[in-house]
């Protein structure tokens, strides 16, 4: 992946988000306190916010070019987005949620992202016929991951995907994120408040404060890993075949 952000300016309520960065890691973390501009940055990359200045390109394809007034709408960017609450479609079944984006981006040349495989990796087979309202918090997050993956994104944006879960559920879902990283080879941008998640999942971390990148580097250099994490990640996810 080569995500280039140059001269980005996005005025927010309390400050202006400003960033120049080239991101090439498999998983890049965006770390910072609430209101540091992490979610807004993801939204700008996804095409859900229009910056006043700057450029964003992914693998050479220009997504946003403010000076040239180029702005590719989100549906043509091929960038998956999983917000904190999953934002599942509550009027549809799990299967219908999973298939929602499939017909648009579902790439025939990426068999790893076939429905059956994604469902197997994320253990979603038994959930497929169920309504969203009947799912637990962890199940909802897995469905949100699966739905984003099945659209065949070139980049996956994860906005605090574990923040709404309790510790036990986080420990269940974290290995799934590691599996997504290792199994599907889709570059990810992960927003989190948790140093543990940064250490567990990211190759590189950008620390944001009031809309600016104040530090950048490997998570091992920026944070001290918690011993508990090794135990959580050492436990592999159990797979079941799709229904």
């Amino acid at each position: 992946m080569n995500l280039e952000i140059s001269g980005l300016r996005l005025p927010l309520a309390a400050f202006v988000l400003e960033l120049d960065a080239t991101l090439q890691s498999r998983v890049t973390g965006l770390f910072g306190a609430s209101g540091a501009g992490k979610t807004c940055l993801l939204e700008a990359i996804a095409g859900l916010r229009r910056p006043t200045a700057g450029r964003i390109s992914l693998d050479g394809a220009m997504l946003t070019d403010a000076p040239a007034r180029t702005f590719r709408p989100p549906e043509t960017r091929g960038i998956g987005y999983v917000p904190q609450d999953g934002a599942l479609f509550t009027h549809l079944s799990v299967r219908e949620n999973l298939c929602y984006g499939q017909r648009v981006h579902g790439p025939a040349d990426r068999p790893g992202l076939a429905y059956a495989h994604v469902v197997e990796v994320l253990n979603l087979g038994a959930l497929a016929p169920r309504r969203i309202s009947s799912l637990s918090g962890g199940e909802k997050q897995r469905v949100a991951f699966g739905r984003a993956l099945l659209a065949g994104p070139r980049l996956l944006l994860l906005d605090e995907p574990l923040a709404s879960l309790d510790t036990a559920l986080k420990d269940q879902i974290l290995p799934y994120l590691a599996t997504i990283r290792d199994e599907f080879g889709i570059p990810m941008l992960l927003v989190s408040h948790s140093a543990d998640e940064m250490v567990a999942l990211c190759d590189e971390v950008l620390v944001l404060e009031a809309g600016r990148c104040v530090r950048r580097g490997p998570p091992g250099e920026l944070f001290r890993p918690s011993p508990r994490l090794h135990h959580v990640l050492a436990k592999p996810v159990e797979r079941t075949s799709s229904a």
Binding site: E43, A46, G47, L48, P73, P74, E75, R77, I79, G80, Y81, V82, P83, D85, A87, L88, F89, T90, H91, Y100, G101, R103, V104, H105, R147, A148, A151, P153
Partner: protein, 222 residues
């Protein structure tokens, strides 16, 4: 129920259905624009849409008469260009009821659209859906209870419309005879018994519509 009462009830319900169907597309479009977009003049449009709720219906009727009459800006054009005559026909009843019930549809549908989490729509966009597909497959289904409630409220309002209708359509037996106009006419003639019969029908229809609408709104809030 007498054949005349049946005919009046049928005509009133038919006009209410037609006017509700006519205002659904523009009403939903405007409700969505008010709920999801900021644009210059938005507050003026909001106020204009709410006006029929607060100004006397007879005044709205007079305005429609001036616009749609043979010498009116719209009426003259319709008659010379399309050969359409509106005032004092069933079409005038549809127009009057549509104008009077439009604000109820727009206000209820707007609240329904506002209650849909915009993030859900954003995610649908990132999954490859364009704005139209997002509206038809996400926004409208999630707002459906509120939208149905708004449409039923508009239908109920159309059933009972009097002031604007009498101005623009008059009371022409067999042509523009709605329940409310007929009740007024029968009371004027001292035929209170017949008027009470139509009153019972009016109340039953309105009760059913409002009850259904409230059920839908409760479901939308759940």
């Amino acid at each position: 129920m007498s054949p005349a009462a049946w005919q009046i009830t049928w005509f009133t319900a038919w006009v209410a259905v037609v006017s509700t169907l006519c205002i659904l597309p523009p009403g939903l479009a405007l409700a969505w624009l008010l709920a999801r977009r900021d644009w210059p003049g938005k507050s003026v449009v909001e106020t204009l849409v709410a006006l029929p709720l607060v100004i006397p219906p007879v005044a709205t009727g007079l305005l429609l008469l001036k616009l749609l009459g043979r010498r009116g800006v719209i009426g003259h054009w319709l008659e010379t260009s399309l050969g359409l005559e509106i005032v004092f026909t069933w079409k005038a009843v549809v127009v009057a009821t549509a104008v009077m019930s439009f604000p109820l549809l727009v206000r209820t549908a707007r609240v329904a659209f506002e209650s849909v989490n915009p993030r859900v729509e954003h995610v649908a966009r990132t999954l490859g859906a364009g704005p139209w597909r997002v509206f038809w497959t996400i926004t409208l289904p999630l707002a459906r209870s509120g939208v149905i409630a708004g449409a039923v409220l508009a239908f109920a309002r159309a059933l009972g419309e009097f002031g604007a209708t009498v101005m623009v359509a008059g009371f022409i037996p067999g042509k523009t005879e709605t329940l409310s106009l007929s009740i007024y006419h029968l009371v004027q003639l001292g035929r209170d018994g017949e008027a009470l019969g139509l009153l019972v029908i009016s109340v039953a229809l309105a009760f059913g519509a409002v009850w259904f609408s409230e059920r839908m709104l409760r479901r939308a809030r759940a």
